[in-house]
Amino acid sequence: MTQLLFFYFAGVIVVTSFLVIGLKNPIYSAISLLVMFFHVAGLYVLLNAEFIAVIQIIVYAGAILVLYLFVVMLLNVKREERYQHQFLLGLFVGLLILTEVLLILMRSTFSTETGEYTVERINTLGSTQAVGQVLYTTYLFPFEVASFILLVAMIGAIVLAKKGILEK
């Protein structure tokens, strides 16, 4: 059962990724990306990471993609010629890197040591709580820094996008 689900999710993800980079209309690309996000969330659920799946949908699909669509409509971007002149070269390099990465994958062995957060434990705790337990203790400082990053992003976005602020 899980296998079927996995292949379904994986397949859709790959197809929609191709669509994202391949479609001419930017809105179509954005919609494809949306579909992809949903299926990635599904993949997360398969991997017993419900909290992350939900976050994925809320943040990526709900916020980031909406932002993109706003901007696309604001700028009124038209359909256009798709590809740049280094099209073939780009593809070639991509293929190269893919083969290389797969090569690395096949050759390497992965450590099998296991941590303490087994599937049962996460299930008893609840995914959110499990993440929260680690996030607010060991990774408290990066958490604060992340909030700072968001603050900076907010300020930066306002400064850059507001008309006339830079001309003063």
């Binding site: 740049q84 280094q86 780009g90 390099v93």
Partner: protein
């Protein structure tokens, strides 16, 4: 001791003051220079008195170089030889300084002139006072430098600059040999100190050096002979002997006072002084002595033949100097150092007189130096005339003038030597005839006969000029009466005994030389007063042309040495410097630029290109990691 130090220090102080403040002092420069050198003269006289009472000084003033086994100091050696040289240098320098007040009056470089003359006086005094070879060498070069600076005193004239360069370069050739000699001395004796070297010299008498050792051959030469010959090379340059005499006549481009000071009485005599000072080594090397004698004798004859036909008043006197220096060199080569120094002193007096008097004539005729445009000056310039005659008679060696005593001392020694010495003795006598001839030719042409000059009413020179002339005239007479050879006898090994059957020359020479001198004067009288058309008729042959063109020595040197060197320098400049070196340097720059022009095309401004580069880079890095 202080008074000995003051002798050279006073002119040095004059140089420093005039050098630093000359542009402020200007026409009052002589107030600094003349008292300094007169005081120096005073102290030299005191020194002379001290030495004649038996006092000798050998002291190191200041350790200059102290490096492992190489120790050199600045020091003094004052014995009889030094004492007489001090007197000579300071007397002539003082008189020249006083004379220059009048001669260089109104000159643009007045203060500079006195500054350099003071520097020269200091250098010459330090040279004479030296007690080690390095000090000798340093001040040897210093007097050469001052000569260069003073010959080119009127540096706007190209001929003056060329003459100065020529003097310096020719001197350099000799000084190169001198330097090698000093090096060899250090290698042989381990020290450059006079005392050490001279006391140890006999110990190295049989030591030899293999000259062909570096190519695997074998030619053993006595070390002392080698040292003597190398040092003599320096003397050949400095004292204008054949073949390095060519700079002295051209040095007449400088003002006449310095021709008198440097090129008659002091710098050129440094070579002779050196021969006398280093006589210990020369006495131990008969080969070197013979070489010295031959060079001196040939120079004496050679220069005299050239002086016979020259038309520039200063050049005649210049060649006369070369000729007389030849006599002195010959004397040193015969072992008669005392006679050589004696002649050096008397020559200093009458040659300086001749130069200064010639300067007086030139000054009166507004810079005219060509004999053919002079004449009939006797009624206008009596003091100059009579002092000139005194100097000329002294030069010709007529009794009782100074030249007679000193020249005869040399000729007698030549005949006593026997063998080769006798040949040079006769050569010396023939040269006496020529000497008398050319100097009185000068007198008769300049002072007698009709006036051929543009200046219609020349007048006698001022007292600042005629006073030194008169003093020198008196000196030209009385210097010969002092028993200088006996005074110097404690310095040198005893004068060699006459060879077999040569003792008779002692009485014969004075007679012969006076006759020779008078004969020369008579010839000059005949040629230039009685029968003035005679010279022109005789001036046709090949001998005349050889003499007039100085035996073409300058031309030969030009072809042999100067042109090839200049051509090589030009070739090196054009090919090595411009094409190869500049080409390489510029080439590197051009290469860099071409590469930069090619490489900058990477910056297209397109971010996707940059992204591509990054991807490729990442790929490469990972593949390196993967496969290595």
């Amino acid at each position: 001791m202080t008074q000995y130090i003051l002798i050279p220090l006073l002119p040095l102080a004059a140089f420093v003051i005039l050098g630093l403040f000359g542009h402020i002092i200007r026409e009052k420069a002589h107030w600094v220079a003349v008292p300094a050198v007169l005081l120096s003269l005073l102290f030299s006289l005191f020194t002379f008195v001290d030495v004649s009472r038996g006092e000798q000084v050998y002291a190191d003033l200041y350790t200059w170089i102290s490096s492992a086994n190489f120790q050199v100091s600045i020091g003094f050696q004052i014995d009889e030889l030094t004492a007489v040289m001090l007197i000579l240098v300071t007397v002539v320098s003082s008189l020249v300084n006083i004379y220059s007040v009048g001669y260089m009056h109104g000159d643009k470089g007045y203060a500079r002139f006195f500054a350099y003359v003071a520097l020269f006086t200091f250098s010459m005094l330090m040279l004479v006072l030296a007690n080690n070879f390095l000090q000798l060498y340093v001040f040897w070069e210093a007097v050469g430098l001052c000569s260069y600076l003073l010959i080119a005193h009127w540096y706007e004239k190209k001929s003056a600059c060329d003459a100065a360069t020529k003097a310096f370069l020719v001197n350099r050739v000799g000084d190169f040999g001198f330097g090698l000699g000093v090096l060899l001395i250090f290698l042989t004796f381990g020290s450059l100190d006079y005392l050490t070297v001279f006391t140890q010299a006999p110990l190295h008498q049989d030591e030899t050096l293999n000259l062909l050792g570096w190519v695997g051959g074998n030619w053993q030469v006595s070390i002392l002979t080698l040292i003597a010959l190398l040092l003599f090379a320096g003397a050949v340059g400095k004292s204008a002997q054949i073949p390095l005499h060519v700079w002295l006549p051209d040095a007449m481009e400088g003002p006449t006072p310095i021709s008198a000071l440097i090129h008659a009485a002091t710098m050129v005599t440094a070579g002779i002084f050196m021969l006398a000072r280093v006589h210990t080594i020369y006495d131990l090397s008969p080969i070197a002595m013979d070489v010295v004698m031959v060079v001196g004798g040939i120079t004496a004859l050679f220069a005299a033949t050239i002086a016979l036909t020259q038309t520039d008043i200063k050049r005649i006197v210049a060649y006369s100097t070369v000729s007389q220096l030849g006599y002195m060199t010959m004397a040193c080569g015969l072992g008669a150092y005392a006679a050589g120094i004696f002649h050096l002193l008397t020559h200093g007096a009458f040659k300086a007189l001749l130069f200064l008097a010639a300067g007086s004539v030139i000054h009166a005729l507004n810079g005219e130096q060509d004999l053919r445009r002079m004449g009939g000056l006797k009624p206008f310039m009596p003091t100059t005339y009579w002092t000139f005659v005194v100097g000329a008679t002294a030069l010709a060696g007529i009794f009782p003038f100074a030249g007679f005593f000193s020249k005869d001392a040399i000729l007698i020694q030549a005949f006593h030597h026997g063998g080769l010495g006798r040949v040079f003795g006769w050569i010396g006598l023939i040269t006496v005839v020529m000497t008398a001839f050319y100097i009185f030719r000068l007198i008769f042409t300049v002072f007698h006969g009709p006036s051929k000059s543009a200046v219609k009413h020349p007048h006698e020179s001022p007292a600042v000029i005629t006073l030194p002339l008169m003093i020198l005239a008196v000196l030209s007479i009385v210097t010969g009466w002092f028993p200088i050879p006996q005074f110097l006898s404690s310095v040198f090994v005893a004068v060699p005994e006459p060879a077999e059957g040569q003792a008779m020359w002692e009485t014969l020479i004075p007679v012969l030389s006076v006759l020779a001198g008078l004969g020369g004067i008579l010839c000059a009288y005949l040629f230039y007063v009685r029968a003035p058309q005679l010279p022109k008729r005789l001036a046709q042959g090949i001998l005349y042309r050889l003499s007039f063109h100085k035996w073409y020595v300058d031309e030969i040197y030009d072809r042999l040495f100067v042109r090839p060197t200049v051509n090589m320098a030009n070739a090196l400049w054009k090919y090595m410097d411009v094409e190869i070196i500049d080409g390489a340097v510029n080439g590197v720059a051009e290469l860099t630029r071409d590469w930069a022009m090619a490489l900058r095309r990477i910056q297209t401004g397109q971010i996707q290109h940059y992204a591509l580069y990054m991807a490729v880079g990442a790929f490469l890095m990972i593949s390196v990691y993967l496969f290595l």
